[in-house]
Structures are given as structure tokens and as C-alpha cells.
Symmetry: C2
Subunit: 363 residues, 2 copies
């Protein structure tokens, strides 16, 4: 499923097994052009000198995980694959390898909105999550969330009910569904052209320490994160913070001020998050008219096109010279959050294509 | 009850009977130093030439209203009285005369917060209004509202339950209570050192056209206006707009996004109103530590005081030379909303006193 060489795949799977706190350093070295196997070997040498057996153990575990993935039709999406979501490749700590059950295309869908919130949600929180997800999904927005109880699963359900595509990002292996009662929901997600994805190798049990880390992938896949019913110490606030660090939009749904259930969401509003009442508030923030892609394709045949001035983004790219988001951002002066939608438009127009590793190249 | 001469009082009462749309012009001329009787005579001459009987009719009605007020212990607070609330005197269109049942001191209390919202409020809106009003009142904040069904009356009730002072501003004469079932509430407000006030002469029946006009007095008395459960076309939004024009703070309580009941309040949040969950959010915006006055009085005896630099506001005032808020604002560079609390502090410290007509003079 991945286009990368099997030696690279083994090394990337091995990197997946290292502590998640190393992922930023791993990404840096991979981006600098170091081969995955070299990154792995050097990291272990630097950090695990006292434990010489670790290399062999990790490599063995990685080999078994790949074998399991191949046997169980679990896809592997390497950081360097063209299909790896560019929005996720653009964060400082993208997972070197994503394990995916379901459609790889779902991960590359655009635009993406993350909906996250309380596990112990009220009927109100569940209703809002389901409605927003449904309204967005019916207008072509991919919904990403975390398969958790409460707001997360309501978002997945809302997207499915609207016939939409949704992706669940887990804090465990994609074959270890948590909470277990959401296994049928995960199957429904996969059955409807969606996906269940994780940076953790198959077989990894859920671990409370993994969930905050996982949240950066939820926001990293998305252009905007919508928070519903986050209390004062909600994990959703971690996702919101990750989103801000990644340059993504953070939006929050208001609610009752007497229950304490919305203190976190209201805190985000106080700090400048956009208030969400309806899906339109989110679409407006995405600054995308859904259905735009079609218009862009039609527009490409118009004679007026030739007379248009050179596009600010296109002008930063030279044919045959792949650039990552940071470079394009620097050259164009646009933030990644603003760049991504434009790059997708250019891709649909056939003017730009993806070159892997989150890079883009002009056609 | 008013300190003004009876001829002036008659003229001011006559001015009270003119169309409310003239009040801005009336205020301009009174501020320019024109005598009330002259303002009245000139306005009628300019605007009612076709109706020579009007002068006599209005003067007669004014005389009867004053007689009724005196018989029924309805206070009259002239624009030029020292006791006239300076915050209200500072708006562009202050009523030339306020008719008051209850305590005139209540109107001059500080700080003041207005709480307004839906008449057809939900149990949530009523509970929030009552709680916020109670929490503010118990910390010495005067609560002003409109005696209406729903959020307004809940605010008055909350203030009363906390042993606080509250003022109801009516869109009818203070002897014509609307809605009629709130007569006991109005009596309870008056019984607890509060007041019922109106710019309309006693006997004036409620009129839908009067309520939007009345709203400017509610916001004009207050430093901050809190909106609870305002729908899309709520009259509370008129109060909020008046507050913004008057330089007062506008705050809003969020709520359910599925019912449409909060669309107006959420719209205010979208436009930059501060979000309110608790009374602390409001007190913070008032930028006043309640109990501050006492500290200021104690502080006045400290020896360190002599060494303090000249206060920015005090420095703008010369003894014996009364200035209105606009002048002080211009000289100090501070907005009226920021100036008022400072002037009240200086007043409590005995450094400044009120000179009537919303003016202040240095002692």
C-alpha cells in the first residue's frame, strides 16, 4: 500500500515504535534527507546506549507488525508517500508512518474539519456534534475525530448518517479499538469509504499517555478544529492548543454556563476562537465555497484564464523542484493554513502535484 | 425633591411631554445654557407652528403631572440636579427630567450593571439572570433593568433576593406598571431602597414605541450591559447598540445553539462582546474591585499620599470650574467609560464633587 521500499518501510515501522516524544527529532532528520534506517540506528545509538538489545527487539517487533498489517489488510502510509496528507506532513512532528484501516483516499480528502469534545457529553453536546458533522459532511467536508465516547463518536455518526466520509484517529493500534463498544462504529466508518488511522503499530493497547499525543494528528489532518463541551481540563483543549501551534483555526460551540460543561469551550471563545452556531460558521472560517473545486476545473477551460496574472503561490514554484509547505510559505508570505486550500485548488486544476513528504511540485 | 426652581421644573416637565425624538436637541440646548422654558418655547415655535394650542395643552399637562407627582410622592430628578446620575447625564440624549418612585440615591449608586434579555425566556435564561444579578448585587453592584417579563424581572428578583439595590426603568409613567402582574415586584424594588424610574410623565400608558427609547436610559445608567437570551430581533440588541454608542461595555451570556434563543447574544459575542459565565467575568470588565471605595478612603490618610504624582483625571480639573464628561475626556484622553469609575473614586476620596448637569468640579 505504501510506495516506499521495504527496507525503508521496516525502518519507518521501527521508528513508529520509539517513544512518541522523539517524533519531532525523527521528523527533522527525515526532512533533512537522512534515510529512515539511518535515523533509527543513530537515534538508538544516541539514546539507548545502555540497552544494546533494544535495536533487535524493536526491529523484530516492526517486522511482525508489517506482516500483521499485510495479513489483515492494514494500510501503511509513509511520511514520504505522495498520498500522505500534506496538512499532516506540514506539522513539526508528523508520524513517520500511519497505519490505516480503510480508505487511504479518505485521509487525503479536503477540506477536513476536526470535531472534538467531552467524553461524558450531555444530550446537547451529542446533538450539536452530530448535527454539525452531518451538515459539514453533506457539503463534502471530511470529518476527523478520535472515536471516543461522547462528542467524538457523535461526530463520526453524524458524518456517516449524512453519507459522508470520516476518519477516526486512535491512541492505540488500529486493530485494538477503544472503547471496545465502538467497534461497530469503526467498521461502519471503514465501510463508508472512511478510515481508522493510528501512528501506533497494530497490537498497541490504548494508553492514557498516548491520547494527548494522538490529538496532534487529529488537528494536524484538519484545517479547523471545532470544540464542543470541553470542560476546564478537557483533552479537547490539548487538541485546540495543538491546532493553534499548527496554524489551524480553532472554533468553539457555546452552551450552558451553569453546568461547568462548557468552561473550556468558553475559555477558547474568550481567547479569540470563533463562535460556532451552525455549519455555515465553520464553512465561512474555512474560507472555501464547497463545490469550488468543480468551478475551478470548469474555469480552467475559459479563454480568460491565459490573461490572468501569475498566481502568488504558483509563482513560488518551479517545475521539477518540489517544495515543502514551509518553503512555499516563506516564499509566498502566506501561512500554511492559507496555503493548503490554495495548493489543493492548484492540484485540482492540474497545475501542481504532490511529490511526497508533504511537498508540492509545479507541473 | 428636585433642587430646581419651580418655573424650571414646569418647563422640564413640559419638555418631558414632547416627542422623544426631540430629546437630543433638547439636551443640546440645555447643555448650551439655554433656560428650560426658553428651550420649550423655541422648540414649539419651530416645530408646531401649525398648532398654536399645543403650548397651552402641554404646559397644563405638565402642571397636572407635577401636582400628581407631589401628591403621590413621585420624585422628580432634573437634568441639572447634583443627584442626577452622571453616567446618564453623559449620554447625548439624557432625559431632561426623570420621574422616580423610590430612592433617588439608588439611581446614583455605583457601580451599575444592566441586565437585559428575552421576555419569553427559558428556564435557563431566567436562572442565569437571577444568579448573575444576585451575585453582583451581593457585591454592591446596582442592577438596572426594564421590569419586563422574563430576563428583566428575573434580574430584579435576583438582586432583591441578595439584599441588593435595583432600579427598573419603564416605558410608561412610573404609576402605570407594565406588565401589570409585576406591580408587586415594583413595590418590592421600592421597598428595598431601589427605584422605579421613567422619563415619561405619570399617567403615560405603555406604548411599544417607547420601549426602544427607554432602553437608552437602561444602558445610560450602567457601566456595562449584560445580554441574556436575546434572539435575532430582540429589543435587548437595541439596548446593546445604545450601550456601544454610549461607550459602555457590552457583555453576553452564551447558551444553546440549537434553539435560536441565543442567536442575538451569540451575534454580540461574534462582534467582540465579552463572554459571561459568572459575575466575576462582569466585575473584571468593570475593572473595579468592589470594596475599593473603602480602601480608597483609608488610603487617603496615608502619609505616602502627598508624594503621589498628580492624578491624570484630577489634573484636568480646576477648583471652581465644573467640567462635563466630554471636556474631561478630551483633556485626559480617557473614554467616558474609563473616566466614570475614576471620578467616583475621586468623589469618595473627597477630591471632586458633582456640580449638576453631569458635571464635576475639583474641591
Amino acid at each position: 500500500m505504501t510506495s516506499c521500499a521495504s527496507a525503508d518501510l521496516l525502518a519507518l515501522a521501527s521508528l513508529s515504535l520509539l517513544p512518541v516524544s522523539w517524533v519531532r527529532l525523527i521528523a527533522e532528520r527525515l526532512r533533512a534527507g537522512e534515510a529512515p534506517a539511518a535515523v533509527f540506528a543513530r537515534l538508538l545509538a544516541e539514546r539507548s546506549a545502555a540497552d544494546p538489545d533494544r535495536f533487535a527487539w524493536v526491529a523484530d517487533r516492526a517486522r511482525k507488525a508489517i506482516a500483521q498489517a499485510e495479513a489483515e489488510a492494514i494500510g501503511m502510509l509513509a511520511w514520504s508517500d505522495v498520498a500522505y496528507p500534506p496538512a499532516l506532513a506540514a506539522i513539526v512532528d508528523p508520524p513517520p508512518l500511519l497505519w490505516v484501516r480503510g480508505s487511504l483516499d479518505a485521509l487525503a480528502a479536503q477540506p477536513v474539519v476536526a470535531i472534538v469534545g467531552a467524553r461524558a457529553a450531555s444530550a446537547y453536546g451529542l446533538a450539536v456534534s452530530e448535527r454539525l458533522a452531518g451538515d459539514l459532511a453533506s457539503r463534502g467536508v471530511m470529518i476527523v475525530s478520535g472515536l471516543a465516547r461522547g462528542v467524538d463518536s457523535a461526530a463520526h455518526r453524524g458524518a456517516l448518517a449524512a453519507g459522508g466520509v470520516t476518519v477516526a484517529v486512535l491512541g492505540s493500534g488500529v486493530d485494538v479499538l477503544y472503547p471496545p463498544e465502538h467497534a461497530p462504529l469503526a467498521r461502519a466508518i471503514v465501510a463508508q469509504q472512511g478510515a481508522v488511522a493510528s501512528e501506533f503499530v497494530p497490537g498497541t493497547p490504548p494508553n492514557p499517555a498516548f491520547f494527548p499525543q494522538r490529538n496532534r494528528i487529529i488537528s494536524g489532518l484538519a484545517r479547523a478544529v471545532v470544540v464542543i463541551e470541553a470542560g476546564e481540563k478537557s483533552g479537547s483543549l490539548i487538541t485546540a492548543r495543538a491546532a493553534l501551534e499548527q496554524g489551524r483555526d480553532v472554533l468553539a460551540v457555546p452552551g450552558n454556563v451553569l453546568t461547568g460543561r462548557n468552561r473550556g469551550a468558553h475559555g477558547l471563545l474568550r481567547d479569540g476562537a470563533k463562535i460556532v452556531e451552525t455549519a455555515d460558521d465553520i464553512l465561512e472560517e474555512l474560507n472555501v465555497s464547497v463545490g469550488m473545486n468543480l468551478a475551478a476545473v470548469e474555469g480552467a477551460s475559459e479563454p480568460a484564464k491565459a490573461a490572468r496574472p501569475v498566481d502568488a503561490v504558483l509563482g513560488c514554484l518551479a517545475p521539477g523542484e518540489p517544495c515543502d509547505l514551509d518553503e512555499i510559505a516563506e516564499r509566498s508570505g502566506l501561512s500554511s493554513a492559507r496555503l493548503l486550500p490554495r495548493l489543493f485548488e492548484l492540484e485540482v486544476q492540474g497545475l501542481v502535484r504532490r511529490a511526497g513528504g508533504g511537498r508540492f511540485v509545479r507541473n
